[in-house]
């Protein structure tokens, strides 16, 4: 009975999560003529025309490459800067810890619609217009608060003695971070990294403003360029969405398996 209930609950939740996505998949496979007609719910025949269209009509591979590069660099940078900061805030003695955490948080409280134009001014002044670098800096900055908060939490949950042991065993603070703290906070690292990656993968407003050409165009801008003046090609949009979503999810799944499950089966004994 209990397990039946649980299975039903799981099915319901999976349905809620997956149904809209499934609808996108279906849409992306429907022939153009059937796109907006209901019935049929399931297309009478499947077609790859929308997938062909996104790669034929647009430099979509280049755009995916740009996004991958931006998202990967953002993730590395955000973790690379966020982890040491979180480490200092949770393991070392910092005066004004609460103030720092609050300040970091405050940065993410301004709506992007307001910060985008001064940022544009600043990046232009630095000559970074239409570069992926401008996006990486911006994304890293706006992902840092989450990374710092999240990692500080995970680090603080580790037994302090492990850090002490590493220090006594000869590590510098930095070495202890790399050899002991980071490996043990892998679930947090993965979560923070994934959220950062997906944020950078999907961000539209900054990307639209800071880039002009294919040299720096990212996926959301690329997809925003699909609709014509009035016409909205739902099939192609859906195909593009499916194309750019699946790799991320597969990647995330693999990471989750590799990193987290290996470590957490027994978890950290205090």
């Amino acid at each position: 009975m209990r397990s039946a209930l649980r299975a039903a609950g799981m099915a319901l939740i999976i349905g809620y999560c997956i149904a809209p996505f499934l609808w996108q998949v279906i849409t992306s496979l429907k022939p153009a003529a059937e796109l907006v007609s209901l019935p049929p719910l399931i297309p009478t025949r499947l077609t790859a025309e929308h997938y062909a269209a996104i790669f034929a009509g647009h430099p979509f591979l280049r755009i995916i490459g740009n996004s991958a590069l931006v998202a990967a660099c953002t993730t590395l940078l955000a973790l690379g800067l966020g982890a040491p900061a979180a480490f200092a805030l949770s393991m070392l003695q910092v005066r004004g810890r609460a103030v720092i955490l609050a300040g970091v948080l405050a940065i993410s409280m301004f709506p992007p619609v307001a910060t985008v134009s001064p940022l544009f001014l600043a990046l232009n002044a630095l000559g970074l217009h239409d570069t992926l670098f401008a996006l990486v800096i911006t994304y890293t900055t706006f992902s840092l608060p989450l990374a710092v908060w999240l990692l500080a939490n995970f680090f603080a949950a580790l037994p302090r003695e492990l850090y002490a042991a590493a220090r006594v065993d000869g590590c510098t603070a930095c070495g202890a971070l790399a050899r002991v703290v980071l490996p043990l906070a892998a679930p947090g690292l993965l979560a923070a990294g994934l959220l950062t990656f997906i944020f950078a993968w999907n961000e539209l407003l900054f990307a639209l403003t800071f880039t002009a050409t294919e040299a720096a165009r990212t996926i959301p801008v690329g997809i925003a360029l699909f609709p014509g003046l009035h016409e909205v090609p739902y099939g192609e949009i859906a195909a593009a969405a499916v194309t750019v979503t699946l790799p991320v999810v597969v990647l995330a799944t693999v990471f989750q398996r590799r990193i987290v499950e290996g470590l957490t089966a027994g978890a950290v004994k205090g």
């Binding site: 009509g57 790399a178 403003t209």
Partner: protein, 422 residues
């Protein structure tokens, strides 16, 4: 991990910073950037046109950069760039409602020579009005759009109704046909809270002799406008010929409903025609198109849309930019684009061009529509005006406010906005 991170970051930085001059221009040439919203599917014909321009003007290269087609995204992009005095682009395509605003903000070069008075009559009068701010022109009309009434020829014939000329006829015809054709909506149009709603509403007001602004004064709260908007709301709530979901409808959903054969009348732009003429369309061969209806005693009015070419005030190469504008707005260029994309040129003469008419007979119908099409109130504050109207009109369509209350409130807010000017 932390050990190779720095090396990796360095490598990334090398890639991320601009890959300079990989296929840059030949030295000494001027690169003009043409920024425009996405208008067309295939980029090749436009590129061919620009190549031709480069051949004609040695030393000038043109790079065209596309923005998303959404009007709001473009306005946002231009606002940020132009406010920052960015010279990142030289020539830009401007929506018909922005010219006065951009000109007033000092963002555009005056284009007196590109559009001298004697040449203005070659264009439709609506766009010329729209590109004129305080007696000067700041943009050259490129192509035009206007509201049309699409109808189901077959259904009107089947039930022996004429094509409606007045709004009243439209409502009665729709009611009658709906009674005999279950599953058919009477009249679909665009009622979501967005710019398109203003376009729709203006067509009711104008076709009843109403106005929004007159000589810089707000003349919104008048009996004619109240009557017109009351009718618009009645379409949904009293005659029930328009489904209540019109409050979320933009161009595409309404086109799809009509295109599925589930509506009798549709208000939309000319682009829909081409799609209904596709043999795979469910309404292929069953669609007619005409001027929008008017109220008894009024005249049909269509809201003008379309895009104009302008030169960025902070352009590094304004002269080259002007040349490009002149070229793109020329008769041959507009004709080539019309042939390639089915876009509707802003030059009247092209609507009598045999070659073009042969390719797109529909243009003959459109000529009288565009000739009568009216620009939305030409004021630098139009976008703010429109926001007020969108909110109040949406309340009318949703049945939350009476036209009286909404118009009174809108008029008050518009006066505040215009008072800012002083």
């Amino acid at each position: 991990m932390s050990r190779w991170a720095p090396a990796l970051l360095l490598a990334c930085a090398a890639v991320l910073l601009p890959a300079c001059d990989a296929d840059g221009p030949t030295p000494g040439s001027t690169v003009v950037v043409f920024k425009h919203g996405k208008l067309f599917g295939d980029a090749a014909p436009l590129r061919a046109l620009l190549d031709e321009f480069e051949r004609l003007h040695p030393g000038i290269m043109v790079r065209d950069e596309t923005l998303p087609a959404g009007s709001d995204e473009q306005h946002q992009f231009y606002a940020i760039n132009l406010q920052a005095n960015s010279p990142a682009f030289d020539v830009l395509a401007v929506d018909v409602i922005w010219v006065a605003e951009f000109a007033h903000a000092g963002w555009l070069h005056e284009l007196a020579l590109e559009l001298p008075p004697q040449e203005r009559s070659a264009f439709f009068p609506g766009p010329i009005e729209a590109v004129t701010h305080q007696g000067r022109v700041y943009a050259v009309p490129w192509f035009v759009d206007a509201g049309l009434l699409y109808y189901r020829k077959d259904l009107l014939e089947k039930h022996a109704f004429p094509v409606p000329r007045t709004w009243d006829e439209l409502a009665r015809t729709a009611q009658a046909v709906m009674a005999r054709e279950p599953g058919i909506a009477g009249f679909v149009w665009q009622g979501k809270q967005y710019e398109g709603l203003v376009c729709n509403a203006l067509e009711y007001m104008w076709s009843n002799g109403g106005e929004v602004l007159s000589a810089g004064r707000v003349v919104l709260d008048t009996p004619r406008n109240r009557e017109a908007l009351a009718f618009m709301a009645d379409l949904v709530h009293r005659y029930r010929v328009t489904p209540a979901s019109v409050t979320s409808a933009t161009e595409e959903p309404s086109r799809h409903v009509f295109g599925q054969g589930r509506a009798l009348f549709l208000r939309n732009w000319p682009y829909a025609w081409r799609l209904f003429q596709d043999p795979r369309s469910r309404v292929y061969g069953k669609v007619g198109v005409t001027l929008l209806p008017h109220f008894e005693g009024g005249a049909s009015a269509a809201t003008l849309g379309g895009w104009q070419l302008a030169v960025n005030r902070h352009s590094r190469y304004p002269e080259a930019g002007r040349k490009l504008v002149r070229y793109l707005a020329s008769v041959p260029a507009q004709k080539r684009l019309a042939l390639a994309y089915g876009f509707q040129p802003a030059r009247v003469a092209l609507y009598r061009d045999p070659e073009l008419l042969a390719a797109q007979p529909f243009l003959a119908t459109l000529e009288r529509v565009f000739a009568a099409a009216r620009p939305r109130p030409v004021t630098p504050y139009y976008v703010r005006v429109s926001q007020v109207l969108q909110s109040e009109l949406s309340a009318i369509v949703a049945g939350l406010k009476t036209p009286e209350a909404a118009l009174a409130a809108a008029a008050r807010k518009l006066r505040e906005i215009l008072a800012d000017e002083a």
